[in-house]
C-alpha cells in the first residue's frame, strides 16, 4: 500500500475534476475519480480516504446522499463540498467539514489538502 494519503474526487465536470486531481496530486495525494456519482462506493472499498472533494449535482446521485454514505462508513474522512449551488450548500453546513463555492482557487485547495495531511 502506498504511503501517500488517498483522496476521492466526485465531480461531473471533466475539466474541473482534472484541476482537482492535478492539484491534489501536486499536494502529494493518490487520487481516484467518480465522474457520475455511481462509482464512489467501489472507490471507498479500496481504502479509507483522507479527503473527499464532493460536488452536489451529479448524473446518478445527489452529493448530499453520498456525504451521508461516506460519513456512515468513514467518520474521520474530511469531506469538502465543492458546489455552485449556494442554496443546497447551506443545508449541508452542519454535515460537511468544508463548503467551497465554485470557482475554487487552486491555492485554497492546496492549503486544504496540506492541512488535512498534517492531521494524519
Amino acid at each position: 500500500m502506498s504511503e501517500k494519503p488517498y483522496a476521492i474526487i466526485v465531480e461531473d465536470d471533466p475539466k474541473l475534476s482534472t484541476v482537482f486531481q492535478m492539484t491534489l496530486q501536486q499536494a502529494g495525494y493518490d487520487t481516484a475519480l467518480d465522474l457520475n456519482g455511481d462509482k464512489y462506493r467501489s472507490l471507498l472499498d479500496s481504502a479509507e480516504p483522507a479527503l473527499v472533494i464532493l460536488d452536489l449535482h451529479l448524473p446518478y446521485a445527489f452529493g448530499g446522499d453520498i456525504l451521508d454514505d461516506i460519513r456512515a462508513r468513514y467518520p474521520r474522512t474530511v469531506i469538502a463540498v465543492v458546489t455552485a449551488d449556494i442554496v443546497k450548500a447551506k443545508n449541508l453546513t452542519e454535515k460537511a467539514d468544508h463548503i467551497l463555492m465554485k470557482p475554487v482557487s487552486v491555492t485554497t485547495l492546496l492549503q486544504l489538502a496540506e492541512s488535512v495531511k498534517r492531521t494524519l
Binding site: 484541476v19 492535478m22 455552485a84 470557482p103 482557487s105
Partner: protein, 409 residues
C-alpha cells in the same frame, strides 16, 4: 237703558266675531304660506335629487323600489320610474353576487346599522355588468324600520383601474422574481466554467505543466486576475438576486472581532500597498471582544466599503474604525482621502448598478452592486448606513448596527 245695554252687548259680540274671523283668516293664510314653503322646499329638494349625477333610490323593508332618481334609471337602462317601482334590488345584480348582497342588507336591518357601504356588480337592462358602490341608510318611522335609502355611484372605471393596478403589481412582482431566478441561474452556470479557467490558469502558474517564461507568467497572471474579477462580479450578482428575492438569511454566531479585522486587514493592506496608500484599522476598547452576528456578511460589508475606498483613493490613506456608539449599538466607519462624492450623486449611490459618473476607469471598474448589497445587508441586520463626503477631500461611510446577543441570553 235696556236698549243701550243690549246694543253694547251686540257691538261687543260683533267685535268678538270680527276678531275671531280675523284670527281665522290669519291662521289660514299662515297655513297656506307654510304649505307653499313646504311645497317649495320639496320642489327644491326634488330638483336636487332629480338632477343629481349620483344615483339615489329608496326601497321598502322588503327591498322593493319605491323611488329611483333619473340618474339611477339612466344607469340601469330603465325608460321610466314605473319600470323599476316594485322590483326587488336583488333582481338587478348577478346571480353570483345575489346571496352576499342580500346578507349584507339583512344584517344591516337586523343589526339596525344606520349606514353601510358596499360594492357589488349590477346588471343593467342591456345586460351590461357595472360595479356600484353605495351608502345605504335605514328609513325609520319612530322605532320601526320601514325601508332603505341609498346614495350610489357607478364605480366600474375605478374598479377596472384598481384591477389593472393589481394586475400590473402582480406582473411586476412576477417579473422581479423571474429576474432574480434568472440572475441566480446564470451566475450558477457561470461558476463551473469559471472554475475551469481559474483552475487551469492557477495550475499553469504553479508550474504544474512545466517551467514558464516571464512573458508566459505575465499572460497567466492576467488570466487569473480576469477570472477573479469575473468571480467577484458573479458573486455580487448572485447576492443582489438573493437580496431582491428576499432569500438571503443571516447566520449569526459569536465571533472574535479582532480576528475578523486582522483577516480583513491582511487582504486590504495588499491592495492598499499596490497603490501606495496607508491602510489603518482601529478597534474601540469599550467594545466586547466577541460580537454576535453574521461574521461572513460583516466581512463582506467591510471588504466592500474598504475595497471601494482603496479603489477611489489616489493618495493618502484608508481607515477602518470599529467603535461603540449609542447605547446598545456599535459602528464601523470607513474613511478615505479619495475623490469624494458630489452631493447630487449621493442620493443614488446605494441604488443597484449606480456608479459615479466619469468614475468608471480601468482601475476602478465594478458591477455597481457593491454599495447596494452593503446597504441591503446592513438593513437586514437592523442597522443604517450614512455617508459624509467632500469632493477632493474624501468620504466617510458609517454603518451603525445594534449590539445583539444570542437568543435566550
Amino acid at each position: 237703558m235696556q236698549t243701550g245695554i243690549l246694543f253694547a252687548r251686540l257691538v261687543a259680540l260683533v267685535l268678538d266675531n270680527v276678531s275671531l274671523y280675523a284670527s281665522a283668516v290669519r291662521e289660514i293664510a299662515e297655513r297656506e304660506r307654510a304649505q307653499a314653503l313646504l311645497q317649495e322646499s320639496e320642489v327644491r329638494f326634488r330638483q336636487i335629487v332629480e338632477n343629481a349625477s349620483d344615483i339615489i333610490y329608496r326601497t321598502d323593508i322588503k327591498g322593493r323600489f319605491t323611488y329611483a332618481n333619473p340618474a339611477a334609471l339612466n344607469m340601469m337602462g330603465f325608460k321610466s320610474e314605473e319600470e323599476v317601482l316594485g322590483k326587488s334590488y336583488l333582481d338587478l345584480t348577478t346571480p353570483e353576487a345575489r346571496h352576499k348582497l342580500k346578507r349584507t342588507y339583512d344584517r344591516q336591518a337586523l343589526g339596525r346599522i344606520k349606514n353601510t357601504y358596499y360594492e357589488f356588480p349590477a346588471v343593467t337592462m342591456n345586460g351590461e355588468i357595472i360595479w356600484v358602490g353605495q351608502n345605504v341608510q335605514l328609513i325609520m318611522e319612530g322605532d320601526r324600520i320601514i325601508g332603505f335609502q341609498a346614495l350610489a355611484r357607478n364605480i366600474t372605471q375605478l374598479r377596472q383601474a384598481q384591477e389593472a393596478l393589481l394586475l400590473a403589481r402582480d406582473q411586476a412582482l412576477e417579473a422581479s422574481r423571474f429576474k432574480s431566478q434568472l440572475v441566480s441561474r446564470v451566475s450558477h452556470e457561470l461558476r463551473t466554467p469559471l472554475g475551469g479557467i481559474l483552475g487551469f490558469a492557477e495550475l499553469l502558474q504553479h508550474e504544474t505543466f512545466g517551467p514558464l517564461t516571464e512573458r508566459q507568467n505575465d499572460a497567466i497572471t492576467n488570466i487569473v486576475e480576469s477570472a477573479n474579477y469575473l468571480t467577484d462580479t458573479v458573486n455580487d450578482l448572485l447576492d443582489q438576486a438573493q437580496v431582491e428575492s428576499k432569500s438571503i438569511s443571516l447566520h449569526n454566531a459569536y465571533f472574535d472581532l479582532s480576528d475578523l479585522i486582522e483577516k480583513i486587514s491582511t487582504n486590504m493592506s495588499v491592495l492598499a500597498d499596490k497603490k501606495g496608500l496607508e491602510f489603518h484599522t482601529e478597534i474601540d476598547s469599550n467594545l466586547p471582544a466577541e460580537l454576535y452576528g453574521d461574521e461572513n456578511r460583516l466581512q463582506q460589508i467591510i471588504v466592500n466599503l474598504a475595497g471601494n475606498a482603496i479603489k477611489f483613493t489616489r493618495q493618502g490613506s484608508v481607515r477602518v474604525r470599529i467603535a461603540a456608539s449609542a447605547p446598545a449599538r456599535w459602528s464601523l466607519e470607513v474613511r478615505d482621502t479619495g475623490v469624494g462624492i458630489p452631493e447630487e450623486e449621493r442620493i443614488n449611490i446605494f441604488e443597484p448598478f449606480r456608479q459615479l459618473s466619469n468614475s468608471i476607469t480601468r482601475e476602478n471598474r465594478g458591477s455597481g452592486l457593491g454599495l447596494a448589497i452593503v446597504k441591503q445587508l446592513v438593513e437586514l441586520m437592523g442597522g443604517e448606513i450614512s455617508l459624509q463626503s467632500e469632493v477632493g477631500q474624501g468620504s466617510t461611510f458609517t454603518v451603525t448596527l445594534p449590539l445583539i446577543h444570542a437568543p435566550g441570553e
